[in-house]
Each structure stands twice: as C-alpha cells, then as structure tokens.
Symmetry: C2
Amino acid sequence: MKNDLPQTLKGFRDFLPETMAVRNYVKNLFVEVFDNFGFEPLETPTLEYASTLMGKYGKEADKLVYNFQDQGERQIGLRYDLTVPTAKVLAIYGNQIPMPFKRYQIQSVWRADKPQKGRYREILQCDIDTFGTSSPIADAEIVAVISTVLQKLNFKKYSIRINSRNVLKNILEKSDIKKDQISALQSLDKFQKIGEEGVRKELVSKDYTQAQIDSLFKYIKIAQPDENLQAVFNAIDMLGVPKNVYVFDPTMVRGLDYYTGTIFETYVEEPKIGSITGGGRYDNLIEVLGGPSTPAVGTTLGLDRIVDCIIELNLLPELPKTKVKVMVANFGQDTTDQSLELTSLLRQNDISTIFYPDADKIGKQFKYASSKNIPFVALIGSDEAAKDEVTLKNMTTGDQITIKQDKIVGQLQKQ
Amino acid sequence: MKNDLPQTLKGFRDFLPETMAVRNYVKNLFVEVFDNFGFEPLETPTLEYASTLMGKYGKEADKLVYNFQDQGERQIGLRYDLTVPTAKVLAIYGNQIPMPFKRYQIQSVWRADKPQKGRYREILQCDIDTFGTSSPIADAEIVAVISTVLQKLNFKKYSIRINSRNVLKNILEKSDIKKDQISALQSLDKFQKIGEEGVRKELVSKDYTQAQIDSLFKYIKIAQPDENLQAVFNAIDMLGVPKNVYVFDPTMVRGLDYYTGTIFETYVEEPKIGSITGGGRYDNLIEVLGGPSTPAVGTTLGLDRIVDCIIELNLLPELPKTKVKVMVANFGQDTTDQSLELTSLLRQNDISTIFYPDADKIGKQFKYASSKNIPFVALIGSDEAAKDEVTLKNMTTGDQITIKQDKIVGQLQKQ
C-alpha cells in the first residue's frame, strides 16, 4: 500500500478546512469590496482553444501554457490568465453587454512554471477591470479598490506606486536617449529591485553614455504627472484614498507590453514577496486579443500572494476556528431520538451543530469536540432525557448548566 | 477580424453576470446549509497524476478523463470527480484529520463526454461526505441535508428515494435468481426509466425464467427495510425531514460498483432531467482508491442540473437584478469632486455605488442606469453643487427629491 501512496503534483496544493477558512475569508472580503464598487462577477471555462491562448502572452509565456490535444483532436489549453478569456467574452457577447462594463473574475490560472516558495502552478487569480471608458476616473477607481481591500485586510505598510506610460515617454523624449529607448526602459524597470546604482551600471554595460544616463535620471527626478495622470491623482484623492498609501513613481515601468496609460503596482515592505497587485490601462489589448476595440483599465490582485502575506504578517482577525457552535453528544439508542430532535432544533435556529454519530465513550467524544474547537457540547443522558432537559457544557470555561431542551436556543444565543 | 472571432469550446460555458447571480445564489445557499450541518470546506488541485485518476472509474469513464503529458513529461489529468481526490487527501493527511470528518467540496470536474442539453464538459460538482463512521445516523444526516437544501431552494415536487444494497441482496437471495444476480440488478436499475414491464421484458430477453422474474417482483413488493435501514429512516424522521419528501424504494439499484449500504437519489417530477442528487454508503472505496480504510457516506448534488431546474421551474426568489443601489451621474469637471466624494461616502456606508465615468449626455447616463436595473441615480449638477445638495431620482417610480448631500445615506437607508 505504502508504495502506492498517491501524491499531489509539485506546485499544486490541497487545501484542508483550516486553510480554506483563511482563503474564503480573503475571497469573501474581495467580493464584498467589488460588490460595493459595482463590479460584477464573470466566469469563463477552464479549457479554451489553444489558438485563443497561444501567442498572446509572448514566446516565453507560451511555453508555460498547459496545452494538449483533446479526445476530439482539438488543440486546447488551460486558462493562463483572466484577460484573454475576458477579451474572448467581449468579442462574443460584447454587443449585449452595456458599457462601461465593470467585471471581477476570481478563478484559477495554470502556469507550467518552476515551482518555488510563493510560486505555484495553480494560482487563484483575481482581476477587476472596467471596460469601455477612457476616463481617468476609472483608473482612480481601481486604485481605490486596491486601497480599500488592503485596508480591510489590515495591511499597514504598503505602497501603491503609480506612473504612466506617457510620463515615461516624455522623460525619454527630453533625455538624450533617442534610440534604444525600449532597452533603457527595460533596465529602468529593475529600479525597485536593484536601485539607481544598479540601473546605471546596467545602462553603462549596454553602452549608453554617461551623459545619456545622467540626463535620464535628471528628468526622472523632476518628472511630474501629466494632465491625465493629474486627473487620476485628483480622483484618487476625492475617492478618499489616504495620501500615505499611494505615490507617484516615475521609475516604475511595469513591463513594456500592452499598457497605454496609467500603470500601478502595490508593494508591501514585508515579506519580500514582490508585488501583490499589478495593472494599468490597456486601451488596445482587447482588440489585439480578438475582441472589439475597447478601452480598458484594471488590476490583478494576487490572491495567493496576499493570503501568504497575511499569514506571514499575522494580519488575520480572530477567525473562529470552526463555524460549528455545538456538538450534540451521543449516549446511545435510548436518548438518540431526543438528541437528534435537539440537533434539528438548533440547526433550524441557524446554530451550526454536529451530532456525534457513534455512541463512543464520552471522553472520546469530548476529545473530538476539543480537537475541532467546538465551543459547546450538549448532552442528553438518560437523566436529562427523562425530564426533557439538556446539559450544556462550555468547552472554554468548563462550566455546565442543565436546562429544559426548549430553552437551549435562547441560552446559546445569549453566549 | 470576423474570421478570427474566438470561440468557446463545445460543452463549456461563459457565465455573464446575470447567470453568475443565479449560480452564486445556489452555491451560497448550499454553503449555508453545509455550514449549518457542520460540514467543512476542502479543495483539491485541478490537475493530478493520471495514475491517481485512471482505473478508478471503470473503463468507459477512463476514456472521458482529460489527460495529457505535461512539460515535465508527467502523465497528468483533470479532476474527473471529487471522491478520488478526497481519497488522495485522506491517504496523505488522514492522520492529522480528526474523525469523523465531514467535508464539502464545490469544484469543477471535467468529462470529455458528448455535449447535449444539460450535459456539459465542465461541471460544477458539489459533494458532501462524512468519513470515519459507520453509524446509520451519518446516512440520515446526508438525506437531511438534501431535503433542507431543496426546501430552501423552493423545490416542491421531489422525491428522495432510499434503498440499501443489503435489501437488494436479501431480495435476490430469497428470489429464485441464484446466479447472474448482477445482470438481473442491472436490468432492475432501469425500473425508474422503463417501468416493471420494461424490466420484465429485458429479463426475459436475458433468458431468466418467468418463475424467476415473478419471484423477483414478488419479493420486491413485500420488501421491508432491514434493521440498519430502519435506523436510517428513524434518524431521518427525528432530524425533521418531512415524510412526504422521501420514500423507501426497493427497486432502486444505483449502479453496482462501490456502494456497500444505504443508497439514495433524488428525482424531480419536472423537468425530466434525471436525478439531481445521488449517493450512498461506500465503506471500502477510500481504501481501494489508495486511502486508509475509512467508512464513508455522502452524496453528490448536481449544482449545474439544480440551477437548470430552478430556472426552468421558475423557483428563483426575487433576486435583485444588480447589487448596485446607486449610480452617481457625471456632470463634468465642475462637480466631479463633489460627486466622487458622494460616491465614496455611499460606499463607506455599505451602499453599493457606481460613478458614471464619462460626462456623457444625461439621457445616455440614465439609459445606462436603466439597462443595469440600478434603482437610484444621484445627481450633483452646478445648482446642487453650489448648495451642497444632491438630487436623488428613484428609477422605478420616477420620483426625485433634492436633499443635502450629508442626508443621502439616511435617505437611502429608508428606501
């Protein structure tokens, strides 16, 4: 038997109830905030035609798409992100969806990446996006959602860094770097990781002149938000986002691929986990991906990373260890009927209850209730049964009281 | 462009917000009942080693497992049901999970089946199971969950049919069918579909004698629950399940594969959609699947079929068409700040609000609010802005009032 012990694939995880409780807490909080901001749920299939997925993420990423031939000899693949499937939805159903369309999508994505700490092959991704408007206010709303979510999750030290592709374009235009701009930006993209010195070194190694490099940093240092980005910042402010959680960061590049305007990412000081959100405006992508021409702005919230963070930073509120409030003990056949009726009564009053199914020794039953952190045990032994009573034991204090069975709901609601 | 229009694979579905609302209503109601009964959430990976999945469901089913070789040349497959992955979890983590273990699992499964009405290739499956007890009360609890869920979903005409493998064994032992018992049961399994006459015809075609067939039906007609099944029925009763929703049905066979005791399925009279739940006791399966020896009882609730049913039977309560209560209109730059502050104020008071991001003509904005079924539109034009006022229009009645901005929360909470 031992040799046949089944295994979970590397980079994949089984979530037992205790972990599920944390994940559900985060997920439900996300949904609550998205609802509050008027984002609506969307879900797309796990499997898509490979032609829908491939060639959309760049060559390196294409290698990470799980793709295969199905029984009908179709080339298909597993969802790699949530943007491409949404572009597909907009291409198919765009005309029946009123614009602007604010959608959230919380679904797994799969990447055949090398597993390592904090990097999994099955990732619970969460995207919010607003489609169909170019308004800077839509950009600001995304930042407001990020700030609200992180605040509600008790994050203290985080920074939403905001920049714009246009600001970067202006910096380059003013600087002496007239060609190989993309290569220069790729180096600048590492600013957060390797600092100004690191970026300078890399630019030197790429044969930029000292004058060019100096001029780049000169214009970065005096860079200001352009008119559009100023409107974004103003709206962020008006939407009540605290000034100390976001910052204009002209060194932030966020890839070079598809962003067309505002870009934003969120970093936490601890743990050193990289960004926990990333996004921006991408007004051309939906059309490139096969959808109708649709301006868009949004962000990914890395649910898995955020869960890892709040566990590591101990940001969890006192989550109840179990939703079960009462375990009804089992004293065997003579009192089973009354015990089951009591179980049913409690449940009907929205008190989560389990009935211990076997007439095991009472010590074993108590041990089980303890191991499950169930706060109360209700006991109907033959004495109690004869008088329609129940003994209710508080597992935390050890106190117990004996009351009429029809008083138990009121008694528990007081606790 | 048109030729490149991406498509969704046959048998797979995109769920737009309106459909998601129905699915989430059903899913949340499921979870609420499972919590109430003390079942805890479990999730397992989408992908597993093919060796974990194959050979577990029978030859025909094996063909329906989506399986392929990954980038690391591992043979892997997509989750086909929720029982095999749970058996894996029990095999790996069994010693750290207190028994009895009541778990629910709501995740997709994939079957490369021929798509047809009501049959999809990606199915949202929902299983509840109790592991680690042989008590008939655990069996009864499963029936009580099914009844509670269907009652809360407003199902009126349904029948939970209950039988036991032991009852069937006793019937066969008493009847004159001494050999080919399995073949006889396979015919009996069609009773619900083709009736007694149909089953008799099929048995004749299989060369059972008239005397054998008569004796089979004779003992079916006088069959009674055995002692264990009687205990299940008693507990079902004590748990408050109405007598008119469940029935002892000695013709019900429910496959021949892995059930060892009580079996149950639920049929609705309309629509003709087959069973909407199916399950039973399977005390050997977890060990067969590679887990530790663990008695188990549970059921699948076909979430997709149940959603199809409640839409077809019109069982939905008045679900709000949107969670958004207010749209704040956009009168352009002069009043944007006040409008955004109002938006933020509403959200902070848990009133779901969208801000219309563009300064479009007000008629277009109203049209958008109507198309989204948003009940209120808040307007701050230059007149209102000058006096810190807001006009609130009730989109259902057409009534509108103008009030101070700081009174809007109280006003909306009254509505």
